[in-house]
């Protein structure tokens, strides 16, 4: 990369340190680096590991913030919402039903244009009880103005948390952002992480400036008065416009990230793996990339040209770019670690969105939906092989059921 030349590798090594840490710890460190002012915690697995790390940083004097253990997720999210309205950089998070318990607060936060950054340790929505990953928790807010991003590794978790602050707190956006980390597979799994240098983080991440929206006696504004049908639609449109500006701000943030830290993520919105010459692709989010990539390498050895597209940003959804990329392949399989009961073709959320993006752009290829890995069940190599076979058959013109549950006991 041309920009990386500006920072000699030797200096890089001196300032960055390398640690073996989990996805949760990586996000806690991002909060420390971002000099977060107010953090609220409430226990629910698996996200709560991030707060265990945060509390240690606070206890050891390594982080200066108000650290509040709330009495429920509703308060957890309401506390940071108000703190953020008063000019504080904030962090919180939840999982599964905890996230749903906060739903009212989640609903109003984007409408108030408050850039809360949260971590979702994705978890099944019990009942019946399950700690494992499912994406329905974070996806529940997909229509409300939350920016939603899924990460795959501890490194990506740390980097994306910094990027999330930069994007959310950009005046053009001022919308909250939730970073989804698959429960257990990422929240509790360690990886080697390059921890960026504080000075560079300062360079990358400007101070949060709420400007003329700040709630402070020097700026006596009235926030969220009763608007009714008289003005609500115009205000909704403003929020929508903010979301529409978000992709450009995301692009700028990734470009600047690469320049300052020397780490590139390529296309910010989705990662492509072995797609250049692929005939068919699988699409998915989060840590299922691991079994998918392993299987693809096996399939490639057998001469089968399969690729993988891992979605990072689900909101905003990069529909045009994705449609352009996926339009190159003969058939597309979308792996949903979620369900959307009663949806078109009984597909999962992601498959429905991918179809909307592709067919809206005039694509004709078959798009097959797979429901897999619910409740934390592993998506295995044989599962991925099975999905690849189905997509190959679809590519050859053999009609396939539009949605199939994979790895299900009969």
């Amino acid at each position: 990369m041309a920009e990386a030349i500006a920072t000699p590798p030797a200096r890089e090594a001196a300032t960055e340190k390398t640690s073996l840490i989990t996805g949760s710890e990586a996000i806690a460190i991002a909060c420390q680096l971002a000099d977060v002012d107010v953090i609220t915690a409430y226990p629910i697995r698996p996200y709560d590991t991030v707060m265990q790390y945060v509390s240690k940083l606070v206890a050891n004097g390594e982080m200066d913030c108000e650290y509040i253990v709330a009495e429920g997720e509703h308060s957890q999210f309401e506390v940071v919402k108000h703190a953020c309205a008063c000019g504080a950089r904030v962090f919180t998070g939840s999982s599964g039903v905890g996230w749903m318990y906060a739903m009212e607060a989640l609903t109003v936060t984007p409408a108030l244009r408050i850039p809360v950054v949260a971590m979702v340790g994705n978890r099944a929505l019990d009942d019946p009880g399950a700690f494992g990953v499912e994406h329905n928790d974070a996806l529940a807010v997909r229509d409300l103005g939350w920016q939603l991003v899924w990460v795959d590794t501890a490194q990506e978790a740390l980097d994306t948390a910094l990027i999330a602050y930069r994007v959310a707190e950009d005046r053009r956006v001022f919308l909250p952002c939730a970073i989804s980390c698959d429960g257990a597979f990422l929240t509790h799994s360690q990886g080697i992480v390059k921890v960026p240098d504080q000075a560079k983080v300062k360079q990358f991440l400007p101070a949060y400036d709420r400007g003329d929206l700040l709630l402070h006696p020097d700026n006596p504004i009235t926030v969220a008065p009763q608007a009714n049908e008289d003005w609500l639609m115009e205000i909704r449109r403003q929020t929508a416009a903010a979301m529409e500006r978000s992709p450009q701000v995301i692009r700028e943030a990734y470009a600047s990230f690469e320049k300052i830290f020397g780490r590139s993520y390529g296309n910010p919105f989705f990662e492509e793996y072995m797609t250049d010459d692929a005939d068919i692709v699988l699409v998915g989010m989060g840590t299922l990339s691991m079994p998918v990539k392993v299987t693809i390498r096996q399939l490639r050895a057998e001469g089968k040209k399969v690729g993988f597209v891992r979605m990072r940003w689900f909101r905003p959804f990069a529909a045009e770019e994705l449609a352009k990329s996926l339009g190159r392949f003969k058939a597309v399989g979308v792996i949903d670690r979620d369900f959307s009961l009663g949806a078109p073709y009984s597909s999962g959320v992601l498959a429905t969105e991918v179809r909307a993006a592709m067919y809206g752009a005039g694509a004709q290829q078959p798009v097959i939906g797979f429901i897999a890995g619910l409740g934390g069940r592993e998506v295995t190599v044989p599962d991925v092989r099975r999905m690849s076979e189905i997509i190959s058959a679809a590519a050859e013109g053999k009609r396939q059921p539009p949605t199939q549950w994979i790895g299900l006991r009969e």
Binding site: D35, D37, V38, D64, C65, E66, I68, A70, E71, G72, H74, S75, E78, V79, V80, K81, H82, A83, C84, A85, C86, G87, A88, E104, A105, V108, A207, L215, H216, P217, N219, P220, I221, T222, V223, A224, P225, Q226, A227, N228, D230, W231
Partner: protein, 348 residues
């Protein structure tokens, strides 16, 4: 039990919490208003008066957070806000977390030198529905955080007024609301006794330094309670009883008088707990010291349409329950625990 001033100063990082001396009578009140024209509450709305006098007592260096309810919907319309101080809507059950969040932000930003170091009053208000029903968990949590300066004020018009007068946990026994209409088979649809909310807050939060009941029929007392609550440090709680002409069904000109009668009948005792010490106030103190004879509750009930279906028996029952609070409670009018159980039969 109470935190010392020095400890509190350390905890709060505000060397001097705001010093708001008591007002010395109506004629000594400042002229400035921070809640002005623009609101659309009913004529005779006492809750609107609470808003006005609450911020008058607090002054301009104040942030107000208001829960959903009449004091939001009828009060704060887009393009015609009555608030001169910064104001933000908060969700129905969020007054506790709103106060906590704003106070935490101010504390962190001052400590980290991101904003000017000065005392800023944080007030979150809620109605009885948003507070004593939905908001209990959040309010209670906030009152356990001694390091955050804030006041939670619950204006109690004894119903979910904004949604057309439904019964709440603070609605008095037997009252006619749109969820408890007297019918042909059932005269009394609401059988629950009103929650004793302020005492619950005082008794349940030993490090909360100030809890008080108020009524705007005694405006200087009420404003001074606000000033004390904002000066003492840490989270504080005020519970105000607000006659509501629409919900209680009476002529708006009676608002002020009904507040007085509520106190004089002993239905609404005025008291405060400061650093664990209880003081009965005004007429309530006179009742306790036998200087003033409680008026019969009939005087109060019969002035309000919401009790128009009451029979003499209902009124007697209501009177007996109020008498109980004065004769049997361990702290008359405040703590609803009897000294001894009636007809107590020891186990054989």
């Amino acid at each position: 039990m109470a935190v010392s001033d020095r400890e509190l100063a350390e905890l709060t990082h505000l060397k001097t919490p705001q010093k708001l001396d008591p007002f010395k009578g109506v004629k000594k009140l400042p002229l400035e208003e921070y809640f002005t024209s623009g609101h659309r509450t009913c004529q005779g709305c006492e809750s609107a008066l609470v808003m006005k006098l609450m911020v008058k007592a607090a002054g301009p260096r104040t942030i107000v957070l208001g829960s959903t309810g009449c004091m939001y919907v009828a009060n704060t319309t887009y393009y015609s806000t009555p608030w001169v101080v910064p104001w933000m809507h908060t969700q129905l059950g969020s007054s506790g977390s709103a106060a906590l969040g704003a106070s935490a932000a101010v504390r962190a930003l001052i400590r980290k030198k991101k904003i000017k170091d000065e005392p800023i009053n944080i007030i979150a208000f809620c109605g009885d529905g948003g507070g004593a029903d939905m908001g209990v968990s959040g309010i209670s949590a906030t009152l356990t955080h001694p390091e955050y300066n804030c006041l939670i004020l619950m204006y109690d018009n004894e119903s979910y007024a904004n949604t057309d007068i439904q019964l709440s946990g603070s609605t008095p026994y037997g009252a006619h609301t749109t969820f408890s209409p007297p019918g042909t088979k059932k005269r009394i649809m609401h059988h629950r006794w009103k929650k004793n909310f302020a005492a619950m807050m005082a008794a349940g939060h030993p490090t909360c330094r100030f809890v008080s009941t108020v009524c705007m029929s005694y405006p200087v007392l009420a404003m001074n309670a606000v000033r004390r609550a904002l000066s003492i440090g840490g989270p504080t709680f005020i519970h105000s009883l607000d006659p509501c002409p629409k919900g209680w069904d009476y002529d708006p000109m009676l608002s002020h008088e009904l507040g007085e009668i509520a106190v004089e009948t002993g239905i609404w005792p005025l008291w405060q707990v400061e650093d664990g010490k209880l003081a009965l106030i005004g007429k309530t103190r006179d009742i306790a010291d036998n200087r003033f004879k409680r008026r019969p509750v009939r005087d109060y009930l019969l002035k309000q349409g919401r009790f128009a279906h009451f029979t003499d028996d209902d009124i007697d029952y209501f009177q007996a329950k109020v008498d109980e609070t004065w004769k049997k409670w361990v702290v008359p009018g405040v703590i609803p625990i009897a000294k001894e159980v009636d007809n107590d039969a020891p186990p054989v």
